[in-house]
Symmetry: C2
Subunit: 427 residues, 2 copies
């Protein structure tokens, strides 16, 4: 059975999965969970359950998967996917295929093995999801034309929305890997140095311009060698899958500190990584062309075929105890630069990729759907109305931001779950 | 015996150590080496030898050091210091003190134990030194006023040498941890996108403006908690020690890419980390006041006492097969922002430190001694004469850059060894 057969819309699982659920049998994203009774375990999401891969391995369901070598079962009892990723794509594919087989409605191996099935399937509401990977390095791109132009217009005026380099290369900067946290982890409002409007000297205090950034991140599953660039046509071979990502930002801190070396404390107080990594294999049916690139990129950034993916995104905000308001629904396929181009650019100077690298897209905005409050509220000038009657220029303590994403076709939804975080007051 | 007693200038080792050698008994820096026969081992430098800590541990010389718990001997047979650092400052101090005792001219425990002494002492010329730590995260500061003003003048003109934030906070950016290499590792000339002079569109090719940056880096030995700032008076408790650091830079790539998010491919093709980490304890006699800071920093950046260290630096360049030319001898104590201020700023928003973090100073330039070719050769306009009769605007293939550093007082030199790298032609 080929990898693409796992995407067949007619596949059905023996577990009940509601229509338009994020995690049908065609998806099978990978993550890491723990419970009070179980230490950290690798899992695949199926419907409202996590499927414990350590249990499956321990019961022998992977015994014939030679791609795993002697790494099982222990590689499935880890705090991150990194060890599993190091086994390589054949191992990832072998496990995903076996899980797909075991979950098919016409396969009784797990279904009719009550002891194994009871141990392997745990309701998602009963588990804590961890970061799926220990981030080795974190790079943030800036690949949405609408976002870059919006921000450029705000900071430099409408006659100069994009800097001269923007259409020639996927602009990016290094972020902080240590402060990437799991979805659900509260985000403490940072303190920082800022220049208040009209002030002639900076002050230090809690950020008053705390923001979210709706992003997607790809996870590097295959390392590259220092000194050896990865060509665009090889780039996707280094990607394991995609995650939701929220790159929380303190705009007042950022705008005072960022020249000339880029964002630092305005970003590195915390970023939230979605719990589930959707494999590139599961997204294969959603390949699509990207926007026309004008001027034509230099040869090292040119690609053949479709390297964008049709994914619907959503950002929502809920005040403490209040109802949620959907703020924007941009699309992932609107990004100007593809992941293949980002990765080829990143390595074009010989920079090496490591397993577990997190490479985020930058804020994703469509012309009518902005992925940050900075853009939605016009740098604070047009506060956004919420369902509870209040408005937001920037985030308030107690606000919860939730990002969601899915691809959908032929009645099958490949969902990413959600990434959420609630703002705690400054210390 | 207190930690400071180990710095007593009258201490002598039973190993012959030439006058003004980098590694007398008062220094005892930590590193990691391997040989054809031995896998990676932790070591301390003494004279022309490395002292194999795994051997000392295996022979029982650390048996009574309860600070090591049950981590020995295996913690000394690792590819990085990270595991040893996680044991904490009491363990670092206990090992350094025991090593000092064992090497004292009046201590016979190791000296008169031929089997142990022969196994433990290996000539430095017979070993390969590795990166001392696996870098967890890498941050590069920009803390030399002379360097920042030189670069600012070149890029923005003499009326605007420093940006408004520079005297208010230690400007920094995140670098790439994956491409930090050991001293001696050749550096491949990177290819990259750049805008050639007079061009109206960028091209892609080997960098023509390859440069070095003379820096010092501190190594984080004690982690901090996400969401909890570290105050200036606590900052040095998180620092294990200091290393030489060369932040190789492709100026043409950097100047085209860096706006608005900072340096990326112009830097992340490689950075070189010195083999020996000199502990803060060994540098204690060299504390000194820093420059007067005007305006007075905000309270969270204020310090009491001396937090700079008097260290003499040197950058030298040797063409392939040619003699070496010393290019500059700036000083570490000239930095505007101290390490304590850098670390307090870095965590002021709650950003967490991890064991093995590398935090570099940024290029260190004194008014008459510049730490980069960019500054030495006036952005290429005044090529630097070398001892072989050639000149350099930027680095040529085959050039070797070597950085050195030492502190010295009362006839005792606390040296850092060197960090060197040779430029290989582009692929």
């Amino acid at each position: 059975m080929s990898a693409s057969a796992l995407n067949d819309p007619s596949l059905r699982a023996w577990i009940d999965i509601p229509f338009q659920h994020d995690f049908p049998i065609q998806n099978l994203p990978f993550g890491v969970f723990e419970t009070d009774e179980r230490g950290p375990r690798l899992a695949v999401a199926i419907g409202d359950y996590v499927l414990d891969l350590y249990v499956l391995s321990s019961f022998g369901f992977f015994d014939d998967l030679t791609e795993l070598g002697d790494a099982q079962p222990r590689v499935f009892r880890r705090r991150s996917l990194n060890g599993f990723l190091r086994l390589g794509r054949p191992a990832w594919r072998a496990v995903r295929q076996r899980v797909s087989e075991l979950l098919r409605h016409d396969n009784a191996d797990l279904r009719d093995h009550p002891e194994a099935a009871r141990a392997a399937l745990v309701r998602q509401r009963d588990v804590a999801m961890l970061r799926p990977v220990k981030p080795a390095n974190y790079t943030d791109f800036y690949s949405s034309l609408t976002h870059a132009a919006n921000v450029g217009t705000m900071f430099r005026g409408p006659e100069n929305p994009l800097l001269p380099n923007w259409r020639h290369l996927p602009v990016a900067y290094h972020g902080r890997a240590s402060s990437i946290v799991a979805s659900g982890t509260p985000i403490r409002r940072p303190q920082g140095q800022m220049l208040l409007p009209g002030g002639d000297a900076p002050s230090f205090g809690p950020s008053q311009q705390l923001d979210f950034e709706l992003e997607m991140a790809f996870i590097v599953g295959t390392a590259s060698t220092l000194g050896t660039p990865v060509a665009t046509e090889e780039a996707e071979n280094h990607i394991f899958g995609l995650c939701l990502f929220n790159d929380w930002s303190a705009r007042d801190v950022q705008s005072w500190e960022y020249a000339p070396l880029g964002p630092f404390l305005g970003k590195n107080f915390g970023s939230s990584l979605g719990a589930w990594v959707v494999t590139l294999d599961a997204l294969e049916p959603f390949r699509t062309a990207g926007p026309v690139q004008e001027p034509t990129p230099l040869p090292y950034l040119q690609t053949v075929g479709d390297h964008h993916f049709s994914i619907q995104l959503e950002a929502a905000l809920a005040p403490a105890g209040g109802p949620e308001t959907v703020l924007a629904r941009p699309t992932f396929q609107g990004l100007y630069w593809s992941m293949a181009q980002q990765l080829a650019h990143h390595t074009s100077n010989g920079c090496n990729l490591e397993v577990g690298d997190v490479c985020a897209s930058g804020t994703i905005s469509d012309p009518d759907a902005f992925g940050s409050l900075l853009e939605l509220a016009g740098r604070g000038t047009q506060p956004v109305p919420l369902a509870d009657g209040t408005t937001r220029a920037f985030l308030l303590d107690g606000d919860t931001v939730t990002l969601r994403a899915y691809a959908e076709a032929n009645g099958v939804r490949i969902g990413f779950g959600e990434v959420s975080g609630t703002i705690l007051p400054a210390e």
